[in-house]
């Protein structure tokens, strides 16, 4: 374990030299987005997150533990609220199941259910399950370079590829130079209207990397509504076999 940690540190060190903005001066937009995606997700991860749905007169909080590997495998365990505790969701490629411990029942979820906001929030299933890839499914272009919230950022515009099954018409991401995490991501519909903005903040060390741990999802047309997603804990490139993402495990994992 120690050896593994050490070698990973070495690897990260090596990578960070490679990624040093001084050494690599002219990066193309796709490369930046790829590094950003890798930074925020890694090859695999384990995390505990809370999601707070905020409205002018009320708020509700959900805590969940998640495991993910690549784009195709994800497992989520609901920790709170008490009434939903223990419910799990398994995603394998395009299929999804949920397990309800109350009645010991496995239900296969239809695709139409995935299109909904995650448990009533502004955060969509696409955000959680990473159904589409910002790297593979979009063309990327650096629009400009600006100073945002005290950081030097690339402003990168992403337009979906013709055959990509994505919900957005355009995405604009403010990615911090040299650090590769996005601070602000704007999502536009096919008519070019702003639909929602993700505002990232509270940059902290999580495992081997520095990332924003708080995301405010702000719908454009409803300024008094928002969803706040906070990463409580996260580790990257953890050792998860494909078999971990099984129906057997979704009944046992917690």
């Amino acid at each position: 374990m120690k050896l593994f940690k050490l070698s990973r540190t070495v690897l990260i060190l090596g990578l960070s030299i490679l990624l040093n903005p001084v050494l690599a001066q002219s990066e193309d937009a796709t490369e930046i987005v790829r590094k950003s995606d890798q930074l925020m997700q890694g090859d695999s991860y384990i995390s505990i997150m809370t999601m707070k749905i905020v409205r002018p007169s009320w708020d509700r909080t959900i805590t969940f533990k998640s495991w993910g590997k690549g784009r195709d495998l994800a497992l989520t365990y609901i920790q709170t609220p008490a009434a939903d505790k223990g419910q799990t969701f398994l995603k394998r490629t395009n299929e999804m199941w949920t397990w309800n411990p109350k009645i010991n029942r496995l239900i296969k979820l239809p695709p139409s259910m995935l299109a909904q906001g995650w448990m009533g929030s502004d955060y969509s299933n696409d955000d959680i399950l990473k159904e589409s890839s910002i790297v593979v499914d979009y063309h990327h272009k650096i629009l400009k370079e600006v100073k945002y919230e005290g950081f030097d950022c690339w402003v990168i515009q992403m337009n979906p590829k013709e055959d990509a099954a994505v919900v957005w018409g355009k995405v604009i991401s403010y990615i911090v130079k040299g650090k590769y995490f996005p601070l602000k991501v704007e999502y536009f519909n096919e008519d070019g209207d702003l639909v929602k903005t993700h505002l990232n903040s509270d940059v902290k060390q999580m495992d081997d990397r520095e990332i924003p741990t708080k995301t405010i999802v702000q719908p454009a047309d409803e300024p008094n509504k928002k969803t706040v997603v906070t990463i409580e804990k996260m580790d990257f490139n953890v050792n998860l076999q494909d078999k971990f993402f099984s129906q057997q495990n979704m009944k046992r994992i917690r």
């Binding site: 709170t80 609220p81 008490a82 009645i103 010991n104 239900i107 239809p110 695709p111 009533g120 917690r254």
Partner: protein, 390 residues
């Protein structure tokens, strides 16, 4: 006292289990308290409302003792008072689940106007080794694919009308399950009974192919041999599910009805729109059902439910729609119709979340139809529920 001792022991040893930052306590304690006020307006006696109140508590203790061994104990405690208790002879007996092999219930109050009872409806341990899983004790064995009618659910049939029993009853059984793949499994279940006619023994094989889940089952259940199949998949984003079970009497006597056996099948589909509107429809076929007037369902009977008799009529149709008015308030409308005798059951409901763990709901159960039909001449029922989960 013993439970308390167990908890203390576990709490002391808690640190030994905390392997890393992500692991949770090996002991999980949860449950809820709810109050349900019921008003029943019986058919033909509309001026005589019957009013009952139930305070209902559920306690669940799950102990992840080792990687390969877990324990689950769940208790259902109820205190009920009101008109039904007064008018129903031996109400405490009626309120108990009668179909268990072992007695694990306790009536702690049996008064002419109030009853108090506690029962354990889950009490099992589970052993896991590699792809194998063995579960022994009172557990819920859920083989259904559909969301309302489950002909494949031969161990734990539940009544759609008894919506207050959210967890549904368990079964005293031994289950051996083998996971054949990431999305497939095979299992054998033996349900204990005092005599063969009360036992069941059956196997289920489930697998995933072409983004559909399929299953096949066979064995015997009480007096019948059973053979069944089911599937769950999707068509253009909508869930599409089906189940079929064939029941054949093991022994045929002169008085045996349905000598050729009974086929029960159901098919359903549901779709969720992006604005949270949910539509769900299904159909149930019961070869032994009546094609004319089906005769009234026994709403207040505590007889064991059977997947052979999910309806009294040959066909039943189901339709449901639900919609989130705000993220906190969800409205739902469900209905069942017997197309042969034109009787119907309609159930509107509304649920509101009052805080993270506190919710309230109002349910209606309206029965309509003429005399001797499946849903006719029963009455109208309303339920008001407050629920706090912990």
């Amino acid at each position: 006292m013993k439970v308390r001792l167990l908890i203390i022991t576990v709490l002391i040893s808690f640190n030994a289990f905390a392997q890393d930052d992500y692991s949770l306590s090996p002991v999980e304690f949860s449950g809820y308290v709810k109050d349900v006020q019921t008003v029943f307006v019986p058919y033909g006696m509309e001026e005589n409302w019957l009013s009952d109140n139930a305070i209902h508590n559920r306690l669940k203790l799950k102990y992840y003792y080792k990687d390969w061994l877990t324990f689950d104990i769940q208790a259902r405690n109820r205190f009920i008072y009101g008109d039904f208790v007064k008018f129903f002879p031996d109400y405490a007996k009626y309120a108990q689940s009668s179909n268990y092999f072992l007695d694990m219930d306790y009536v702690w109050l049996n008064d002419s106007s109030a009853v108090g009872l506690s029962e354990l409806d889950r009490l099992y341990f589970q052993l896991t080794k590699g792809d194998w899983e063995v579960t022994v004790g009172r557990q819920r064995i859920n083989w259904g694919m559909n969301l309302v009618w489950n002909p494949n659910d031969i161990f734990n049939t539940f009544s759609y009308f008894d919506f207050e029993y959210e967890e549904r009853p368990g079964t005293d059984a031994i289950r051996v399950k083998y996971y054949t793949s990431i999305t497939g499994s095979a299992e054998l279940v033996y349900k204990a009974g005092e005599e063969v006619d009360e036992m069941a023994f059956a196997g289920l094989y489930r697998f995933n192919a072409g983004s559909y889940d399929f299953q096949f089952l066979g064995g015997f259940m009480g007096k019948d041999l059973v053979l069944g199949t089911g599937y769950s998949g999707s068509i253009k984003g909508a869930a599409f599910r089906g189940e079929l079970t064939y029941f054949k009497p093991r022994q045929i006597y002169d008085y045996t009805i349905n000598k050729d056996g009974v086929v029960v099948s159901s098919v359903s589909a549901d779709y969720t729109f992006s604005n949270t509107l949910y539509l769900h429809a299904g159909i149930l076929y019961n070869s032994s059902g009546a094609s004319g007037k089906a005769g009234q369902i026994q709403l207040l009977s505590n007889q064991e439910l059977s997947p052979k008799m999910l309806s009294r009529g040959k066909f039943n149709l189901f339709a449901q729609t639900s919609f989130s008015i705000t993220p906190l308030i969800t409205a739902n409308l469900s209905s069942i119709i017997n197309p042969d005798d034109l009787s119907a059951f309609i159930s509107p409901s509304i649920t509101a979340s009052l805080s993270d763990n506190f919710s309230t709901s109002l349910f209606g159960q309206f029965f309509m139809g003429s005399a001797d039909t499946e849903y006719g001449h029963i009455g109208q029922i309303a339920y008001l529920r407050f629920k706090y989960s912990f």
